[in-house]
């Protein structure tokens, strides 16, 4: 079974919501749409307080090359534009809309019909994806059209599609592959056309045999799309790990996948691309898993962007008594939330509710130099050394040991028998070194 070569761990999977079909969440009374839901510069609002708006209408326009348009997920009236706490715990400028009815822009195709023919040219595809505000739905929310603009002199050989979903608990991609496979395949074909490549390779972890079977069945009708079942091993969904697992190629340190002729997109992104191109529908909703050991009804919801997290939790039959921590994302890389008022954004893949007894970190003891962190690091780094030198603020050493290669997967902290929060220290070092590098480049 294919997998990446270095390191990795296998946390308990706990895919509690794997059998829960995607449900449409009822419209909330109010949505909060942050204008920075993507990697890069926040968008600039084009609406003002009191404006009447429809579903799909542009709310904020991309500003700068790496940025994305934001569209209205609901119809109603702009209540205010204000700074609101988002999942990062910081206040971010957001557009707050009071929901009235569900009136869509006329040019959006709301029907369930599947449109197969791809009519647009390469250039039109890239522009349309840009216009529709599509960003990577795997978590990093990188604006999708940028990935399709291949710089002069580079050649793309493979489109790699990430259907791995290696985070424990999360099942949103799994359900999408099962339920929306055909549209996804068309989306992949569109991305292939946009990139001008004839091969797309979909990687799916082996713990989703039903999804693999479904995609294999569908792939027979699509030219150039291959399914690659992969060994269950975290962080298989890391871009560089996935490319290595499927193609055997190693993305050089500090370089993009393009360097080895690959472009990586998530399965959810492929579906968003299908809807943008074939249905004229901007990215205004996404699938979010709501799960946890004590959650009464672990679910997968199709949610309008901007819906408060607490509404999703209500729909999963409420917050369990023993709740200790609520995580935006999976247990390995997700962010703990301060409260449940924060909105779902384009990058929200799941809400994980952890019971109190699993929420606290264990006691730390001395490093026993067991080197388990070195063995599990998928980037071939030495977390123990990086964390020690970061703590001592020896940033030149930290940089030389390639701290910027760290993908923050957390395998080191996960595995450390002494329970040392290695990644906390490494993040600190990475942050400082990143600043040092930026300053140096400015000069």
């Amino acid at each position: 079974m294919k997998t990446f070569k270095l390191g990795g761990v296998h946390p308990p999977e706990n895919k509690l919501s794997a059998q829960a079909a995607i449900e449409y969440l009822p419209l909330p009374k109010q949505v909060t749409v942050p204008i920075g839901q993507h990697l890069g510069a926040p968008a600039t609002p084009v609406v003002k307080k009191g404006d009447e708006i429809k579903v799909g209408q542009l709310l904020a326009k991309a500003s700068g090359f790496i940025s994305a348009n934001i569209h209205s997920p609901v119809s109603g009236k702009v209540f205010k534009i204000d700074d609101v706490y988002d999942s990062s715990g910081y206040r971010k400028p957001s557009i707050i809309i009071n929901v009235e009815g569900d009136e869509w822009l006329e040019n959006i195709d709301q029907s369930k019909d599947i449109v197969k023919d791809i009519k647009l040219s390469n250039k039109e595809i890239v522009d349309k994806i840009n216009e529709m505000g599509v960003v990577g739905l795997g978590g990093a929310t990188f604006p999708s059209f940028v990935k399709l603009m291949v710089p002069e002199g580079k050649k793309v050989e493979f489109l790699v599609i990430n259907g791995v979903e290696c985070e424990p608990y999360l099942t949103s991609d799994h359900r999408l592959m099962l339920e929306r496979g055909e549209e996804m395949m068309i989306g992949i074909s569109i991305l292939m056309k946009g990139l001008n490549v004839d091969k797309a390779l979909i990687g799916v972890e082996n713990n989703k045999p039903d999804a693999i079977e479904e995609l294999k069945r569908l792939a027979k009708n699509f030219k150039g799309i291959e399914i690659h079942p992969l060994k269950v091993q975290y962080p298989q969904g890391g871009e560089k790990q996935l490319i290595q697992a499927i193609t055997g190629k190693e993305v050089p340190s500090g370089k993009l996948p393009l360097e080895v002729g690959c472009v990586v997109n998530n399965v959810g992104t492929a579906l968003a691309v299908y809807e943008a191109i074939q249905k004229n529908k901007p990215l205004i909703e996404r699938v979010v898993t709501v799960t946890g050991k004590s959650v009464k009804k672990p679910s997968n919801f199709m949610v309008r962007i901007g819906t408060p997290v607490k509404e999703l939790i209500e729909a999963a039959e409420g917050l369990p008594e023993d709740t200790g921590k609520i995580i935006n994302g999976g247990p390995m890389m997700g962010k703990a939330l301060l409260n449940t008022d924060v909105p779902v954004v384009k990058g929200t893949s799941g809400i994980l509710i952890m019971p109190e007894n699993e929420s606290k970190r264990g006691e730390t003891s001395n490093c026993i130099r067991c080197a388990k962190c070195v063995q599990v690091c998928p980037m071939g780094l030495e977390p123990v050394y990086l964390s020690k030198t970061s703590k001592l603020q020896m940033f030149d050493k930290v940089e030389n040991e390639r701290v910027m290669d760290c993908i923050e997967c957390g395998s080191c902290s996960y595995t450390c028998p002494a329970n040392i929060p290695l990644l906390d220290f490494i993040r600190f070092g990475k942050n400082k070194v990143g600043g040092i590098i930026r300053n140096r480049n400015k000069k």
Binding site: S253, M332, N366, A371, V374
Partner: protein, 334 residues
């Protein structure tokens, strides 16, 4: 519901803990403990008990009165040092020498550096070597292994297989003569443990069982024991092929003295061994080669302890020189 916990990812933790690893090593030593009791009787139990109790006591006392830190005696590492120290001495060692050994092992070998995880040398070996050079007579009078079923252990002492070989070769005998001498245990005896020697080193079989258990629990990896044993076979094999009358065959090297105990339980000590696979291989080969050198040309019949301690000293250098293979070779500048 009380306030939500907010902390950085990852939010889950694996099931490995220092305590589990350390007690896992203790479990792995149970077969060898049983064999030592089988061959050396109540004396062996006495040595193990005194060594473990003294090690735990000294760790507790030093932490409480000198370091004034929180106590970690239950993490199992002091027990390991105690058992390993017991394994490295003859079963008839006087009680007060054992206690001195534990004090040196824990006090000088471990706590003087700050406790678990900070000691550059294997504490049990520090204790053992200290005893060997301070009490050479008591440390080298080995009771003969006499299984409990043969009647209670008598007070007969004799040399170890390596000792017989060393003395014999010095006196001008050939390897063949010595191998067939009545004092020399046969291969099967060496493998099962029916020979004189330190308590825990006599049975290769029991030690290998423990090693398999630790490999299965992923407490150790194959690199260190594998490279030690292979390098011993290769290095001693070369000399044996050149002149089998003066150099013993590699199997003899493997089954006698502290070879298995050292390779499986002492060299693999996480704290004092290298972190990367490449470093571990070099470290293992270093131990293997040094052991053979000391055994063949050194003043002592046995060389494992010295070889491990010497290589312990090289570990920081190995950690610096042998980095793991990085993902994506190109180095980023800016």
């Amino acid at each position: 519901m009380s306030l939500l916990t907010v902390s950085a990812s990852p939010h889950v933790h694996g099931d490995m803990s220092t305590k589990k690893i350390m007690w896992g090593v203790v479990y792995a030593m149970i077969p060898a403990m049983l064999v030592s009791i089988y061959f050396f009787g109540l004396d062996a139990m006495r040595v193990i008990f005194i060594a473990v109790a003294a090690s735990i006591f000294f760790e507790w006392a030093i932490q409480k009165y000198l370091l004034k830190g929180s106590n970690t005696i239950m993490d199992g590492s002091a027990a390991i040092t105690g058992i390993l120290l017991a394994f490295n001495v003859p079963s008839n060692l006087p009680w007060w020498i054992i206690i001195i050994g534990a004090l040196v092992a824990i006090g000088m070998g471990k706590m003087s550096f700050g406790g678990l995880g900070k000691n550059p040398f294997n504490p049990a070996l520090v204790g053992r070597v200290f005893l060997l050079i301070s009490f050479p007579v008591q440390m080298t009078s080995w009771p003969k292994a006499s299984p409990i079923i043969d009647g209670l252990a008598d007070a007969v002492t004799g040399p170890t297989a390596l000792g017989v070989m060393k003395e014999g070769l010095k006196a001008g005998q050939t390897v063949q003569e010595l191998m067939t001498s009545p004092e020399m245990p046969q291969f099967m005896g060496q493998f099962m443990g029916h020979m004189g020697g330190s308590m825990g080193e006599v049975s290769a079989l029991a030690l290998i069982l423990g090693g398999i258990y630790m490999l299965w629990r992923k407490i150790i990896t194959w690199e260190i024991p594998g490279s030690v044993l292979i390098s011993v076979v290769v290095f001693s094999g070369i000399f044996w092929l050149i002149d089998p009358t003066h150099y013993v065959n590699p199997i003899f090297h493997l089954l006698t003295g502290g070879m298995m105990l050292g390779a499986i339980f002492m060299a693999t000590d996480m704290v004092s061994s290298p972190m990367t696979k490449k470093g571990q291989l070099v470290y293992g080969v270093g131990i293997g080669v040094l052991t053979v050198i000391i055994r063949v040309w050194g003043a002592y019949p046995e060389g494992m302890s010295f070889a491990i301690l010497i290589m312990n000293a090289v570990v920081p250098l190995l950690n610096n020189s042998f980095k793991p293979t990085r993902f994506g070779k190109e180095v980023k500048h800016g």
